[in-house]
Symmetry: C2
Subunit: 131 residues, 2 copies
């Protein structure tokens, strides 16, 4: 969203994304990043580069097709680098870009928070079921 | 996941969630929290309590049904409180629990990061399209 109050000559300021606006491009990026497999793929790549098949084993339960689509979206948005390494047979390695590493570290923080607070979540779920 | 190496007598330690395991309950919670509308509902409620209709206006584009399902899942997991205020007609207000506030502040950090780096994302998307 461009704020009409900001002068167009200041490109750094004239660009203001607002994820609450349905048409804002940032919403789509947030959804790639936080999507079912985007979160797990980024969190796995925060551990280090992965080849496709190893990443698929790490992200337990993802199909080949879904992981491939997820990585393509993350590569398109500049969060993941795909490198073809010279070898026989050629190896393809996925790693985080600097932007991807920043995003992934936030996601890992979120995951660690939720993992550590699961006893509270499970208590809440039991109380909710018992109502 | 219970780690067999940890003594069962230490309840705080015996519980170790691992979001990478497909059967771990934490994965479902992460997916509620980071889901299409979960993220936006939590980020909106980080601004303060909302009544249903005001929240629906804030989360531009969400249907009544999807917002209602999202809030129900967040309430079940102990992230959102639903309070019926005595008034004629009765008012229903949604707010974050302390756990919900912790989760929401991580999400808001993630959203702000993505919003601020959108020029980089858009550059990456243009390069990807041009290949």
């Amino acid at each position: 969203m461009t704020d009409p109050d900001l002068p167009e000559s200041e490109p750094g300021l004239a660009f203001a994304a607002d994820v609450f606006e349905r048409a804002c491009a940032s919403r789509e990026v947030i959804q790639t990043v936080t999507g079912r497999w985007g979160t797990l793929a980024l969190a796995a790549l925060a551990e280090g580069p992965y080849r496709f098949s190893a990443l698929r084993r790490r992200v337990d339960g993802v199909s080949e097709r879904m992981l491939s689509q997820t990585l393509q979206a993350l590569e398109r948005d500049g969060l993941v680098d795909r490198a073809v390494l010279t070898a026989i047979p050629p190896k393809v390695e996925y790693s985080l870009t600097p932007l991807g590493a920043d995003v992934a570290s936030r996601l890992v923080g979120l995951i660690e928070l939720v993992e550590s607070r699961m006893p509270e979540v499970i208590d809440a779920q039991s109380r909710y079921q018992a109502r």
